[in-house]
Symmetry: C2
Subunit: 194 residues, 2 copies
Amino acid sequence: MSPEETGVRARLVAAGVDLVLREGQSAVSLREIARRAGVSHGAPRRYFPTHVDLLSAIAREGFADLTARVEKTMDAAGEDPRTRLVALARTYLDFAAAHRGMFELMFRHDLLASGRLRLRETSLPLFTLLVDLVARARQPADKPAPVLAGALWANLHGIAQLWAWGSLPLATGATDDDTLLRAALDAHLGPAPH
Amino acid sequence: MSPEETGVRARLVAAGVDLVLREGQSAVSLREIARRAGVSHGAPRRYFPTHVDLLSAIAREGFADLTARVEKTMDAAGEDPRTRLVALARTYLDFAAAHRGMFELMFRHDLLASGRLRLRETSLPLFTLLVDLVARARQPADKPAPVLAGALWANLHGIAQLWAWGSLPLATGATDDDTLLRAALDAHLGPAPH
DNA sequence: ACCGCCGGTAGACAGCGTCTACGCCCACCT
DNA sequence: AGGTGGGCGTAGACGCTGTCTACCGGCGGT
């Protein structure tokens, strides 16, 4: 069977992912997705009661993609937890920059009505990974790993968002987000060993 | 003159601010704002060429409000830079929590087309304040103040966003954002003096 | 007195999300 | 073998949105 003959549900999600990656959030209208999936505008309703349900499914795909990318880069990052953390952080920021539309969608909690589609649980594996890494990289005197990891994630996320907004480079004088990334890691985990 | 007789432009912005505070982002449609301001749906066009221009004006009001709140709480925060930083951070997080709709709008850079209405410059005074405080609170061996301030702001912003999203408490086990706030400040500025 | 323009109205248009009525076609049951 | 029911997709309607355009009333300048 040709790829066009897969289920309508999967085609809708795929078309949505493609659209948000290519054109950004504003392009992901229900009718446009239906058009690209080759079905009528009423068809999605059979699988997603409402527009936000479809958007949530698309965002979940985004989280899965991000998680997969992180795991992949970590395979090549060696064993040192600190190095692995750097790789994770870089992947996070790169993802946000390269797939800005998807990244924005993923954190539109006002849209996603996260409760229904268990979207929060979708992002949990990634965070668990982060906690483990932090637990191995932290100094004994540091705060508990989950707190440290939460603060670090927040920092990472803030960098991604504010950087995308274009405000940080102007204000900090930094010409790349790497400066901020290293500052964040050094701050939360102590200065780099070498 | 009664308050209803002020200029249409100001009434539009005021109605928009009121709407976004009360009902959230999704309620701030051009036509609804016009309705609340008591004018026809075509009137806003005279002052704001497009919807996003009006939204940008509303967001600017939000930045002004936040800046005013920060300055106010800092008046009562004494002289110690670290104490002032805590006050600033708390005000930032409280603002995000209390005026969620406005906070979300303020950072919808995909909507705001920030270039046109100099929105970035609007947030600059706040950041400058942060840089000054950091410069006074940092240790001599630390990174330059703008970088430190940028990283700290990103951390603060990430906490606000992820906290609002409801994901952090679940993952970190923390029941309030204060834990993360303190973790962030300790990380970027060294452990609290007392 | 006339003209022009500023500021607001009102209607049209395309696109949106949602709802409903309708048909198709396949699977199952007697 | 002959209905028959239900899942799946279509098509049209509705009210809403943002934008565009034609209109018009009243005020100021010449």
